[in-house]
Structures are given as structure tokens and as C-alpha cells.
């Protein structure tokens, strides 16, 4: 159970990276789930692809490319909804599919990139280095700092956007800050779990928290615990069965979500029957 982590440096780094991703996604994913922002989260996760591809072609840091992709996505959604009567989800959908298609075109047009596509989409969990860990640690600290600073307006945003405004907070400003936080989480996590799977780490652990918690703080704790457990057992399964590491971790998180859903449903049925 613990030998793979004791005897292999790459497994230790992967575990550490996974824990950092889990903690970051627990905080950010809580807001994604509560505000119903899963679609923009998914779109951001896919939208970074052309940025990463372009950065690789130009020899620039991939994280910079991912950040540009995320900014284009957020800015584009704002622009489309401001200039047209189209709904937010139509704008997100158009940019999502457009940026994804652009990414695939860029990757397919470059022989050197074709092999990297899997790494971009599914990450390199077992290949993280000290720099990745440092960046992920900084991201976690930044996310925690922003969440603490904005705890009240963020909670009000989840509850009722009108209440944010009538309380004198700048609702749009905090909404954008939340989007930025989601984008930053996707950008720094994609190298570890990949741009597709980071979305799973945003949703599944926070979903478990939403099922079990009675308060937002405890929802984040449940999400963090689920993420860390998923990382541990996912990496273990990956090691023993030679499964893809990132996918194993996310699959574990999703499995825990469905087990929790069954548990909560059964508990509710039993409570109703005894009442």
C-alpha cells in the first residue's frame, strides 16, 4: 500500500503534486459546483489546448500558452454576451468548440506535436518535477488567499447575485475574480492531470462535498479529503496495474462520488421510512 511511494521518487512527487492539485481543486471546485459553472470550467479546460499547442510550436513555456488560451476564453465569452443577445452558455459553447478545434488543427499540422497531444489532454502525473510542484504550491496559496479575502462576496454570489449588489459589493468584479481563479487552477494543473482530467478533479470531489456537507467550509474539507484519497488510491492502482495515472486518479474520484450518492440516497430512504 505504501511501498510504491516509499521506494520511488517519481511516485512521491506524483503524490505530492496530486495532493496540491486536490487541495486547489477542492476550494475552486466548491464554487464551480455551487454556482453551476461546470460548463465554463469544462470550456476552460479544453480552451487551453490551442494556447499550449502554439506555445510548444513557438518554443515558449506551455503554461504561458495555456494562460493565453484561458484569457481568450473568458474575454471571448464576455464579448459575445455583451455584443449579442446570445446566452452565456451559447457563447461558452461556441468558444469551447472553436478553441478545441483550433487546438486539434494546430496539433495535427505539426508532426512534433502529435505525440504531445496525449500529455496535454491527460497530463504527465508521473513526470512532474520540482518546478511543477513549486508552481502548484504557489497556485494553492494564491487560491486560498483569494478565497479567504473574498469569502463573504463569494458566498453571496453562490446564494443570490442580487444580494451581492444590494450589500454594496462589486458583483461583476468578484465574478471575474472567481473566473480567474478557475482559469488559474486549470492552467497550473493541466501539466499534472491534463487539461481534460483537471475538470474531473474540479467537479467530482466538490460534488461529494455538496452531497455530504451542511456548510461551505465543510464542503471544501470533504472535497479536499476526497481529492487526496483519490490521488493516493488512483496512483496506487496506476502503479500496480500500469493504468494511466491521471485517469486513474480522476476515475477514483468519480467512483467515490457515485458511492457517496448511493450512500446518501439509501440513508435518505431509511430516514424517510423510519419517520
Amino acid at each position: 500500500m505504501i511501498d510504491p511511494f516509499l521506494n520511488n521518487g517519481f511516485m512521491q512527487r506524483a503524490l505530492f503534486a496530486g495532493i496540491l492539485v486536490s487541495l486547489t481543486c477542492a476550494v475552486v471546485g466548491t464554487y464551480v459546483v455551487l454556482r453551476g459553472m461546470a460548463f465554463i470550467g469544462d470550456a476552460l479546460a479544453h480552451g487551453v489546448l490551442p494556447g499550449v499547442a502554439m506555445a510548444t510550436i513557438l518554443g515558449l513555456p506551455t503554461m504561458l500558452g495555456a494562460a493565453v488560451g484561458a484569457v481568450v476564453m473568458i474575454g471571448g465569452v464576455g464579448l459575445i454576451t455583451a455584443r449579442s443577445k446570445l446566452s452565456n452558455d451559447t457563447a461558452i459553447g461556441l468558444l469551447f468548440i472553436g478553441l478545441l478545434a483550433l487546438g486539434v488543427v494546430l496539433v495535427s499540422s505539426s508532426d512534433s506535436l502529435t505525440g504531445d497531444l496525449e500529455a496535454i489532454l491527460f497530463g504527465q502525473f508521473l513526470g512532474v518535477d520540482a518546478t511543477d510542484l513549486l508552481v502548484q504550491t504557489i497556485a494553492l496559496l494564491a487560491v486560498c488567499a483569494i478565497s479567504l479575502y473574498s469569502a463573504r462576496p463569494f458566498l453571496l454570489l453562490c446564494f443570490d447575485i442580487d444580494l451581492v449588489r444590494t450589500m454594496g459589493y462589486k458583483a461583476q468584479w468578484y465574478h471575474r475574480l472567481m473566473l480567474l481563479m478557475i482559469a488559474a487552477t486549470v492552467v497550473v494543473s493541466f501539466q499534472t492531470v491534463g487539461s481534460l482530467l483537471v475538470f474531473g478533479m474540479l467537479l467530482a470531489p466538490a460534488g461529494v462535498g455538496a452531497l455530504l456537507a451542511r456548510r461551505i467550509g465543510s464542503m471544501m474539507l470533504w472535497a479536499a479529503g476526497t481529492g487526496v484519497l483519490s490521488t493516493y488510491f488512483g496512483l496506487l492502482a496506476s502503479y500496480h496495474f500500469s493504468w494511466a495515472a491521471g485517469a486513474s486518479v480522476v476515475l477514483t474520484a468519480v467512483a467515490i462520488f457515485f458511492l457517496t450518492l448511493v450512500f446518501v440516497s439509501v440513508r435518505k430512504s431509511l430516514t424517510s421510512a423510519s419517520a
Binding site: 455551487l34 479575502y149 463573504r152 458566498l155 453571496l156 453562490c158 446564494f159 443570490d160 442580487d162 444580494l163 449588489r165 444590494t166 450589500m167 454594496g168 459589493y169 462535498g209 455538496a210 456537507a213 451542511r214 456548510r215 461551505i216 465543510s218 464542503m219
Partner: protein, 253 residues
């Protein structure tokens, strides 16, 4: 507390520069209660949102609690008609009421004893003290409405803007609401409610009948005449006790 809660001159309210209700001249004093009565789409909720600072006025002048709307948010409590996340959020009832005190203290300041006392008193007024630790999503619609009303009370605001405040409330809930509004008015707060409830409107000092414009404005006994109600709702209505009775269909107003 200022003696004037709302001053509106030639106010027009609406969306995207298009007025849905215009010609509003109003002077609402502290401790007074006003009911906005009108059919769906008449502009009641739009007017409330404008008073709350959620929408900019289309034209005209508006002053709230002696200042600009945007500067007086801490003196205003607003109850919206819809709370879509009530059945989703992992929040206990008491947490929802506590939100009302967020802007009354510094960003990093913890809840004071005064905050806790006001929250407890507000929940007691709405008779939900026993529901404090129950998740909001586990409460019925009527119980949730009481929680939202307790949140409004906990603001201790000078101006209460309530959109359909009695929607979903049972008889004890309505009684608690009526008592709470008496308390608020005695405290000096001005209350503006948008309602379809004639009984509720009749308890107010003043009624504004709205139908894209102000049809009538004054004490309920004088304003709620069959002629005015016909003009407001497009059908003949007569107030019988606490109810409106349809007397004639008429759509050409």
C-alpha cells in the same frame, strides 16, 4: 435615521433604456408602508429593483435615504422574488440570516454579540429559531421564505424593499410577517412591498396601483375602487373584505 426614505421625481424604470413604468413621483417617509399593486409585467418588481440599486433609472431623479442609491446600499434590505439556489446550497438557515450582517462589519472582523443578538431576534420574529441548524435545502418553500424574511429583518435597514414577501407563507407565517412589519415600522423603517395580495396591500398606509404608469396613489380605502382596479388589471374587480371579486371582464383600457 433620516425622515425621508425615498424621493422620486418623474422617475421612469425599465431595462436597457426602455421604460416599463414611468411617471413616478413619490415621497416615502420613514416608518411608512407602501404597497405596489399591479398585474404581471406592470413594472412593480422593476421599480423595486431600481430602488434597490439593481437597475439604473431610465430617466428622472431618485434619492434613497437622503443620498444616491449606489451609496446607500447599507441602509437598504431587498427581498427578491426568486431564490434559485435555495435547494442546492449547503447552508444552514442561521448562516443565511447571518449574511445580512456581512456589510455591517469589517472584512476580517468576526461576528459581534450585537450581530448574534440581531440574528437571533430576527429568526425569533419569523418563528424559525428552531430551524437554525437545519440545512436550507431541507426546508419547505414556506420555511425558506421565512428564512429570507428573517435575513431582511436582520439587516436593520432604513428601507425594506420586499417583492411578494408573503408568497408561500402559511397563516402562522403571514401572522409572523405582519407582526415583524409592525416592529420594523415602529423602529422607523420604511417598507415598500410588491404584491398581488389585497389583504396585505390593505394593511399599508399607501397603495400605488401600477400598469406601466401610476394609475392611482393614496390610502388603500380611497385608491382601491372598482374603476381604478379595472384600469390596473384590465378586468372589473371589487374589493370584498380581504378579497378581490371579478365583477366584469374588460380588456380595453
Amino acid at each position: 435615521m433620516t425622515n425621508t426614505a425615498v424621493v422620486a421625481r418623474r422617475l421612469a424604470v425599465g431595462y436597457g433604456g426602455r421604460a416599463v413604468l414611468s411617471g413616478i413621483d413619490a415621497y416615502l417617509k420613514a416608518g411608512g408602508s407602501t404597497a405596489l399593486v399591479g398585474s404581471n409585467g406592470s413594472g412593480k418588481s422593476t421599480l423595486l429593483k431600481t430602488l434597490a440599486g439593481l437597475l439604473p433609472p431610465v430617466s428622472g431623479a431618485l434619492e434613497i435615504m437622503g443620498g444616491a442609491v449606489t451609496e446607500m446600499s447599507h441602509k437598504v434590505a431587498y427581498l427578491s422574488q426568486f431564490h434559485p439556489n435555495g435547494f442546492v446550497l449547503p447552508l444552514c438557515a442561521v448562516d443565511v440570516v447571518r449574511m445580512a450582517r456581512y456589510d455591517q462589519r469589517g472584512r476580517w472582523a468576526r461576528r459581534s454579540q450585537t450581530d448574534d443578538a440581531i440574528v437571533a431576534e430576527s429568526m425569533d420574529m419569523m418563528k424559525i429559531s428552531n430551524l437554525g441548524d437545519i440545512p436550507l435545502r431541507d426546508l419547505s418553500g414556506g420555511q425558506q421564505q421565512r428564512v429570507y424574511l428573517a435575513q431582511v429583518l436582520a439587516r436593520r435597514a432604513g428601507l425594506l424593499l420586499l417583492d411578494e414577501p408573503t408568497a408561500g407563507l402559511d397563516a402562522p407565517g403571514r401572522a409572523a410577517y405582519t407582526e415583524a412589519m409592525v416592529f420594523e415600522r415602529e423602529r422607523g423603517a420604511a417598507i415598500v412591498t410588491a404584491t398581488h395580495d389585497v389583504a396585505e396591500a390593505s394593511t399599508c398606509d399607501r397603495v400605488l396601483l401600477v400598469a406601466g404608469r401610476i394609475v392611482a396613489d393614496g390610502p388603500p380605502a380611497i385608491v382601491m375602487t372598482p374603476e381604478n382596479l379595472l384600469e390596473t388589471f384590465g378586468i372589473g374587480l371589487t374589493k370584498v373584505g380581504d378579497h378581490l371579486v371579478v365583477t366584469e371582464h374588460h380588456h380595453d383600457h
